[in-house]
């Protein structure tokens, strides 16, 4: 077992083979050798560490991953709903430019956690978490993409292009538009 200390000073006893998925910690352990000294992780909060140290094959982690994926996949697919709200296939397939209230709440809460996890995974150097489709589930080839306005809305991005620039970008990429 390895003792980890997070930025908010919580201590975690974690299995060695799990923490060693982090290249950073693995290197630290190799440098320090066998020791009971806690390893400080000043860039990782306890809530994030909980997520990233879950066993990669365990149901919890799949659950976490699934939720973020489906949230984020709204950037390219029709708005996703939690499974319990899923009424019929037709309804979920329906494309709408409005983001449902549920989606919006879910995203504002979870996007942040998603970004924190990505940052933590990057800091800890956890390969299995980094090589992941964060924003999109494997989408079908011919599925239309969300227009830029929707992506801006989803991720709270400011449009800083001039109308001329926008027109130019549109023209440059006309070849990739729906046939």
């Amino acid at each position: 077992m390895v003792l980890l200390v997070t930025s908010d000073n919580e201590q975690f006893q974690t299995e060695k083979d799990i923490v060693e998925r982090s290249v950073l910690i693995k290197n630290m352990l190799e440098d320090v050798g066998e020791s009971d000294q806690p390893i400080p992780l000043p860039n990782v909060s306890s809530s994030v560490l909980k997520k990233v140290t879950q066993p990669s094959t365990g149901p919890t982690e799949i659950d976490v991953r699934g939720r973020y994926l489906s949230t984020a996949s709204t950037t390219v697919e029709s708005p996703s709903r939690p499974p319990i709200l899923e009424q019929s296939q037709d309804e979920t397939r329906k494309r709408t430019t409005d983001i449902s209230e549920w989606d919006q709440k879910f995203i504002t809460v979870d996007q942040e956690m998603l970004f924190e996890i990505i940052l933590a995974a990057n800091y800890l150097d956890i390969k299995s978490l980094l090589c992941r489709r964060w924003l999109q589930d494997g989408s079908q080839h011919d599925q239309g993409a969300r227009p830029p306005e929707e992506i801006r809305k989803l991720f709270n991005i400011v449009n800083d292009f001039t109308p001329e620039e926008e027109a130019q970008i549109k023209k440059e990429n006309e070849w990739a538009e729906d046939r």
Binding site: I118, L119, P148, N173
Partner: protein
């Protein structure tokens, strides 16, 4: 303070953007300056965009950076789309007699020798101006047929027999064997549990064969002696496990394997061609799809997407009135869309042309002469063939290429820009390749809707056939009048005005001149 997407460092944003599909990435470009500059400035993302636009899959590994990959891909695309091959060279055949068995796979040109006991091939990669280096594989048995999946599985399948099959009276104890070779080592394939499989087929009754490969599946179609009342056999093996998965009687004259998933089930759906008027008969003379599976054993940076590839049927139609005149056509179908027809939930065992065909296929008038059975004419989204007037025709079904061509055309009509003259190819309006007399052939308009861009060589070529793979278009010239040979030259590239296009290897166009003349 909450983290905002754009607060993330560029390398992480790049990583997040990487898995997005083409249209989503392009939509992201249009959201914001920072996102645009990250996508524009990342060779990884530029390569990702280019790869999706070219319908190729990345092949990881082999030590190439995304910048290398991007350059190689751009070269390849320019070579094909602009009709500016990176190199053209002509190779005279060496002084060995050959049979009319040609094949091309992963940049290797194969043929069997006249003695029928050895297989020869040369890598088209060998530096442009040199004589080709021929490799040779000798067997103790007679080579009947070969099947190739070199870039996919590093595999060469050889069907052999213990006696020559082209004799009048065959001994009854002929044994037929399927040999599984590994191209890179030229020995038994290491993934095959049994490198040689004895076929449970009697060569006296079934003396003629055709092989197809898709992933772990190898199909052998054995033609019966009596082709008036065919009693053919189809055998499907899992070549890795050495297991016979299927042996069925078949009255069909052709067969192709389209899926590389394991476990083959009985055929359970028929898709019909357009209703032909009374007395008009179809004959499907060839089925071909390429790549031969979704696996990648190649050392190339990328390869044609398996999912997005095409299937081509070569269809002969004999109209009732003049039974001696026939029409030759290609029916090109999107592979994945075709496979979805089979897996879709509907339980109907037969689906009419109107139900399945029009949106996913295209009929093409291909009045080509088929003296020799040319093997590969299709790869990924592209198809090459020769017209009776000896023009090479290149078709590209890639939807992005088509859209770009349309936009360029519109620009040309607006302004005064003219088609680049350096190209050896000129655009062909698709109507030129449409089936002329649909009513006589089908009794109706087939409404096939799959779109493509067509190009045709400016000048006729001195070739009698064209075969292609991922990167090469090979023209073959056969002159069967004599076995006295004459080899003297390897022509330098004719395209010296565009030296920047004359790159080695990738996106090349290669001419092999196989001349056996007096």
């Amino acid at each position: 303070m909450p983290i905002h997407l754009l607060d993330l460092p560029p390398e992480i944003l790049t990583m997040i953007l990487y898995p997005l599909d083409l249209r989503s990435l392009i939509a992201c470009i249009a959201t914001n300056r920072r996102v645009k500059s990250i996508i524009d400035g990342s060779t990884l993302l530029q390569y990702r965009l280019a790869a999706q636009a070219a319908c190729v899959d990345d092949v990881p590994g082999n030590g190439l950076t995304s910048a290398d990959r991007l350059v190689a891909l751009q070269r390849r695309e320019v070579a094909f789309i602009e009709g500016l091959p990176s190199s053209i060279h002509t190779v005279q055949m060496d002084d060995f007699p050959i049979r009319n068995t040609y094949a091309l796979s992963g940049g290797n040109f194969f043929m069997t020798e006249l003695t029928e006991k050895s297989l020869r091939w040369t890598s088209l990669e060998s530096k442009g101006q040199q004589q080709p280096i021929w490799e040779r594989l000798e067997l103790n048995e007679y080579i009947i047929e070969i099947g190739l999946a070199v870039p996919e599985e590093d595999l060469v399948v050889v069907l052999s027999s213990t006696a020559p099959l082209n004799v009048d009276v065959l001994p009854s104890d002929v044994i037929l064997k399927l040999h599984l070779f590994e191209m890179s080592t030229q020995s038994a394939h290491r993934e095959a549990l049994e490198p040689a499989i004895v076929l449970p087929i009697d060569a006296v009754a079934w003396p003629d064969f055709e092989i197809d490969i898709c992933g772990p599946n190898v199909s052998i179609l054995a033609f019966s002696v009596d082709n008036q009342h065919p009693d053919n056999r189809l055998l499907v093996y899992d070549w890795k496990k050495g297991r016979l998965q299927m042996l069925i009687r078949l009255e069909y004259l052709n067969c192709g394997i389209l899926s590389d998933s394991e476990g083959i089930a009985d055929p359970h759906i028929s898709l019909t061609l357009p209703k032909s008027p009374d007395g008009c008969e179809y004959d499907i003379t060839r089925v071909e799809s390429n790549p031969k599976g979704s696996n990648a054993a190649t050392s190339r940076p990328f390869r044609s997407s398996f999912i997005d590839s095409l299937v081509v049927l070569s269809v002969l139609c004999f109209p009732p009135a003049e039974a001696t005149v026939f029409q030759q056509m290609f029916l090109v179908i999107h592979r994945q869309a075709l496979l979805q027809q089979i897996s879709s939930e509907s339980h109907t065992r037969q689906r009419s042309w109107e139900e399945w065909g029009p949106p996913i296929s295209r009929w093409i008038n291909a009045d080509i002469i088929t003296q020799t059975e040319w093997p590969t004419i299709i790869c990924g989204q592209r198809l090459a063939f020769l017209t009776p007037q000896s023009h090479i025709v290149l078709l590209d079904f890639n939807p992005y290429t088509r859209k770009r061509a349309l936009l360029e055309q519109a620009k040309r009509t607006d302004g005064n820009a003219i088609e680049p003259t350096a190209s050896q190819f000129v655009s062909v309006p698709p109507s030129e390749l449409d089936i002329v007399d649909c009513l006589a052939l089908f009794g109706e308009e087939p409404h096939s809707q799959l779109e493509y861009v067509a190009k045709k060589s400016r000048k006729p070529v001195a070739w009698s056939g064209v075969i292609m793979d991922e990167e090469w278009i090979v023209g073959i010239n056969v002159c069967l009048s004599s076995f006295v040979k004459n080899y003297q030259f390897i022509t330098p590239t004719k395209n010296s005005r565009t030296p920047q296009m004359r790159m080695e290897n990738s996106g090349s166009m290669f001419g092999i001149l196989d001349e056996l003349r007096k």
